[in-house]
Subunit: 412 residues, 2 copies
């Protein structure tokens, strides 16, 4: 029996097959995400992977249904696996924001699901680090969030030579659109054209721009000039004070596809341009209001970073640690008469915090030692008799004999 | 908009409402589960939350479909959210077991889903710690797994006064059944009667037993005698050697409902009997063969421990830590002229591993200090000027002034 197409199995390292993913790398990534978010004062939350379908159509319109894992449950409810976290976050914040001091700084690591029928070989799920800052409209909030994004990538050993944040703003484009005499009925269509500039033929973009009173030439001039708005200048100064200026550049080609962004938008890219965006986000000041049915109105911004592109990038840049020695000690049991007391040793070492492996059943000494070597343990230990333990450091080849109760002291 | 019935929202502590769950407690539980499993040499794996429906019906028969979150996806596949992890594990092991040394010791922390229509107020999802040991039929494997179960609960501060493992064996009941002249056609029905002894009226159980040639009296005698089989004695001796004898008792009333168990079975209960089972497991030596379509044949055993009963028990026994001070340092910015250099201080402290909070926007000094107190930080820090930092230990009330580069040294 096979797993469903587009889903992943996560195995322990070393991986048995190129078609499966690493549970160790996944955990490594989750730990870095969580640790960096905590240093920045972000608190963890989570919601259900299954939500009412309406939560997602309210935000993104009915057209999103074509990309969802949606179905009718046994209680006749229209439900969907979550394709993104922001609607759940907005729902949770709207329900209980009064109990939290503003700004709310929260993060989550949800698994997200998209059913895209035509894309063969593409994944239908991924894990995404979501960090959001809610209840503060000052650009200081944008800078804090972008600093978190930068430091999250740095936590994996990536440098300003590996990645850059392309920083932009819907407000800058809004001003350009207004000053160019744009008709507000075409505002979102205009943003969509900008969003597709890098993927479409210039003639085609120009044609679409001209249809709403603009030209590719004027748009390109605005992009090339890249004059930061007051708001973006404030953010750049803030990041400069933190020593993070090298990680950011103004790039008005970024505008983000989603309809709900209202201000600053940004994407993280590898400098070599080999991969899709590593992360993306921005301001969505109207979304909490929309999801809460006008009950709660809070400015907000956030970003999402998926595990798939990040894993590919870290592998390509040699930034993944080896996961080949998760065990500390192998306890050899060469004399079965000493198995009982060896079990006590094993239990004591584990209680002291060491990861300990041993032969579950009788095995030849050379086979046991080979297993210890395969596991790349730092030490072997074996009972010499009922009271004394012989500890061997496999690196230095030093051996010590110690009382059973003292063993842990000789392992550090 | 509300979340779906039976699903949970996880919020940061302190909780805003009794109806929501704690993301901090959840993370605390996951960390203990993961750390204990690693000390025992178990490696993490995971599979998709959505699997082909057939994976679950192969194992449990068509009748399980009534309890599943199953649906037809847009590619006309019959799929289901996973109600348990073991079928996925068996599928993954069958696919790649040749690449792993035996015994395979693996764990996972999946979210599991059951749609039970009638049970109002009952949860439809939970997280479950799954640990499995595959490829070893010796009772030493059973002892190793049960020791892990015990130490996992001890990692939360629970003692032998709080919980006990009720240890039993399908083999013991099989022998009883055979020696009593049972007809093999009624074997599973017999186990089902034993499984329901504690929940059904004695007359009813007796009636059902008599229908297949047994009596409640004989069954009760067998249970009361509680004579361990050779296999169970080996396990008890092994646990005794580890110093864990107080955590286990033979109890033949336990037999586990699922059809696929083949040998030792066990459940963890709170000693006061206030809660449902904390964990349960046993041997399932034929399941990998069944799931792999006879391609792979490996003995196996495992257990599952859910987060819901465990959380209730830990709360009732006062074993949950407080989650009220996740921040280390609050940086006060009383002079806006020092905001830039304060941002550098904040960034340096976070880079040194501290969790740091600060006022994103200008705020009155007393309001800032109150926020620091609310966050229960250990220290406040503020720039005296562009070069010197004033650090205050809020517990001892000691103040030191130090150079910016030296700050982290004064926080430990």
């Amino acid at each position: 029996m096979e797993r469903l197409p587009g889903f992943r199995d996560f195995y322990p390292e070393p991986l048995p097959h190129p078609d499966v993913w690493s549970a160790d790398i996944r955990q490594h990534i989750f730990e870095k995400w969580r640790a960096t978010a905590c240093r920045y004062g972000f608190r963890e939350y989570d919601g259900p992977p299954l939500e009412p379908l309406e939560l997602f159509t309210t935000k993104s319109g009915e057209e999103i249904v074509g990309q969802l894992y949606n179905f009718t449950d046994k209680g006749e409810r229209a439900v969907s696996l979550r394709p993104e976290m922001t609607p759940t976050l907005a729902r949770m914040v709207a329900a209980h924001e009064r109990n939290y001091k503003k700004p709310i700084k929260w993060f989550a690591i949800p698994q997200l699901f998209r059913y895209e029928r035509q894309q063969k070989g593409r994944l239908r799920e991924h894990f995404q680090f979501n960090a959001d800052l809610i209840g503060e409209s000052d650009p200081a909030a944008d800078a804090e969030l972008i600093a978190l994004l930068i430091d999250t990538l740095r936590a994996f050993g990536l440098t300003s030579e590996d990645f850059v944040i392309r920083l932009s703003s819907r407000n800058a484009w809004y001003d350009f659109f207004k000053q160019g005499g744009g008709d507000m009925a075409h505002e979102y269509a205009f943003y969509q054209i900008i969003d597709k500039l890098e993927r479409e033929a210039p003639e085609h973009s120009d044609q679409k721009l001209r249809a709403i009173g603009f030209s590719l030439e004027a748009v390109n001039q605005f992009i090339e000039k890249g004059e930061p708005t007051v708001e973006l200048k404030t953010i750049l100064d803030n990041l400069t004070a933190r020593g993070l200026r090298d990680f950011v550049k103004i790039d008005y080609k970024v505008i983000r596809g989603l309809a709900y962004y209202t201000g600053v938008v940004f994407e993280a890219f590898d400098r070599k341009g080999e991969f899709r965006a590593i992360a993306g986000g921005g301001r969505y000041d109207n979304l909490v209001k929309l999801i809460s049915g006008d009950k709660v109105n809070l400015p907000a911004l956030g970003f999402g970073m998926g595990d798939v592109v990040l894993t590919e990038l870290l592998r390509a840049r040699g930034r993944l640690p080896k996961f080949d020695s998760p065990m500390d000690v192998f306890v050899l049991i060469e004399d079965e008469a000493l198995r009982s007391i060896s079990l006590k040793l094993i239990h004591d070492l584990r209680a002291a915090g060491y990861a300990v492996e041993y032969p579950l059943t009788p095995a030849k000494p050379d086979k046991q030692f080979k297993r210890a070597m395969d596991l790349k343990v730092a030490h072997t230990a074996r009972m010499d008799n009922d009271a004394y333990v012989r500890i061997r450091n496999l690196k230095t080849r030093e051996e010590v004999v110690t009382g059973l109760a003292d063993t842990a002291n000789h392992l550090s």
